[in-house]
């Protein structure tokens, strides 16, 4: 009896693993196709400009606010935690390394997943449900090239910039709290921050930004293009895209951190 139960559980696990591997394969193929369409003509400059504006520029407010409050809270936490072993002076260095290496890219990635991935999935899924994707094909326009490629390109280009902006604003948030509430000297704080950061920290931050931008946009496009019918299909695509993008961003963050900084 127990052996049969174990076999059944094993079979279920095997089926789930098989489905997960198949889904990963489909997403990988979809990503490769989207990337290949970025470099192959025809190009749609208007669509690319619109995606750059929507994914990059219009994400600045949410990214800026998130980074500011995170940097400010981080400074308070480091100061309070450091006080336990008389290490309050490390606030500038820890805020800088924390924001640039980890919190900046991850929070920007997650905010983009929440804002952009959801919006892409809902938009493309609605287009699919209302036959706009079919209409594109009948008008001799490849949906991957017209819809996915410009958005994926915009994610690759703009999310690293958003991460850089988020890093700077986060450090500024920490600086503001440290100098106004914790008694740090403004110039010394900045000097310590700049002196402590290394090129690898900044490069890793930007690379993570590009990877997270790719994940966020590919997930939005993939789930949108593969949505089910009706309002329920659009809702499921939107939810699935955000969950998948968030999980993949966190997993990719671990792998990239290991690649950059593991001894």
């Amino acid at each position: 009896m127990s052996r049969r139960l174990a076999m059944r559980a094993l079979a279920r696990l095997g089926r789930a693993t098989g489905r997960a591997v198949a889904a990963l394969g489909r997403v990988t193929l979809f990503s490769a196709r989207a990337l290949s369409h970025i470099v192959r003509p025809p190009f749609y400059p208007r669509e690319i400009a619109s995606a750059l504006l929507n994914i990059g520029y219009l994400s600045l407010p949410v990214v800026g606010l998130t980074a500011f409050f995170t940097g400010a809270a981080l400074a308070l936490q480091i100061y309070a935690g450091g006080a336990r072993f008389s290490a309050q002076a490390v606030v500038p260095q820890i805020v800088a390394i924390g924001m640039v290496r980890e919190l900046g890219p991850v929070l920007v990635g997650l905010m983009v997943a929440a804002r952009v991935t959801a919006s892409l999935a809902a938009e493309i899924a609605t287009m699919k449900v209302t036959e706009q994707i079919d209409a594109l094909v009948t008008l001799s326009t490849h949906p991957m090239k017209y819809l996915s490629a410009p958005r994926v390109l915009a994610g690759l280009l703009t999310v690293p910039v958003l991460v850089a902006v988020g890093d700077i604003i986060g450090i500024f948030g920490g600086w503001l709290v440290a100098t106004r509430a914790l008694g740090f000297n403004p110039a010394t704080y900045l000097a310590n921050t700049i002196a402590f950061l290394q090129t690898a920290d900044i490069v890793s931050s930007l690379v993570k930004g590009a990877a997270f931008g790719l994940i966020a946009t590919v997930m939005g496009c993939y789930f949108g293009m593969h949505s089910g019918r009706g309002a329920q299909g659009v809702g499921a695509a939107t939810k699935g895209s955000v969950v998948a993008a968030a999980v993949l961003i966190l997993a990719a963050n671990f792998l990239l951190t290991q690649a950059f900084f593991a001894a």
């Binding site: 025809p42 749609y44 619109s50 287009m127 209302t130 036959e131 706009q132 079919d134 209409a135 094909v137 009948t138 008008l139 001799s140 326009t141």
Partner: protein
């Protein structure tokens, strides 16, 4: 000429088309009728290559649609009016109409494309005032007309109409039917319409094919649909709830 030979198509194990064989001659207006879920839309999508049939052949002027090397040129021969018009929400009306003329092999200068779009809008009874509006600002009937203008923008040889009157009031449905008939005649295009609206059938069709259970149940001139002996066609034309076509109550 469009020829479908023994076309089969299933979705998740459920057979939708079961050896569909049908022809539409050049310049003919063929209307495919049938109940919901009988595979009418799937038939059109198979011809356009939006869906790949599981078996059988689809030929357009003797060429298998799957072997069309230049897909762009192949699709440029077609225009299609979708059931819900399928206008692009993010583009103003004139850019929807001129979509094909603004990109791809049929690309024209922007001003020329806009001029053609305005001309096509006038042809379907819409003024230039709506050219800069977005689809969401239009009524259902106006959206259908814009969809019709887009379908004929590049003067296609073959035009598909998917449920052209669904969701319209009877007067607007009559207007759309008349427009379709006039436009198809003056362009000399081959038209394939799918509908279950019998007033559309009488207004648009030269020939009628009834699709039932994935196959053509009856096919003949529109003038014969009222006198045909086929019990399935008679039930469909009369709209009776009793007959060989199963109905859910």
């Amino acid at each position: 000429m469009i020829t479908l030979e023994a076309v089969h198509k299933s979705f998740d194990g459920k057979a939708i088309l079961r050896g569909l064989t049908l022809q539409a001659a050049r310049g003919e207006s063929l209307v495919i009728i049938g109940g919901s879920g009988t595979g009418k839309s799937v038939t059109l999508k198979c011809i356009l290559g939006l869906i790949a049939p599981d078996a059988g052949r689809i030929l357009v002027d003797g060429q298998d649609v799957r072997s069309a090397r230049d897909r762009d040129a192949f699709l440029a021969r077609f225009g299609m009016l979708f059931q819900g018009a399928a206008l692009f929400d993010s583009l103003p009306v004139w850019q929807n109409v001129a979509f094909r003329l603004l990109r791809g092999t049929l690309k024209r200068p922007k001003e020329e494309a806009r001029e053609i779009a305005l001309r096509k809008l006038r042809r379907v009874g819409l003024s230039a005032d709506i050219a800069e509006l977005f689809p969401s600002q239009l009524s259902g009937g106006m959206q259908k007309r814009v969809g019709l203008a887009r379908a004929i923008a590049a003067d296609p040889e073959i035009i598909f109409f998917d449920e052209p009157t669904t969701g319209l009031d009877p007067i607007m449905a009559g207007v759309i039917n008349d427009l379709i008939r006039e436009i198809v005649r003056e362009m000399g295009a081959t038209a394939v319409t799918i509908t279950h609206d019998m007033s559309s059938v009488r207004a648009i069709a030269d020939r009628v094919a009834m699709l039932h259970d994935g196959q053509i149940r009856w096919c003949g001139p529109v003038s014969e649909i009222d006198s045909a002996a086929d019990p399935y066609l008679r039930q469909f034309v009369s709209g009776s709830a009793t007959g060989p076509i199963e109905t859910l109550r």
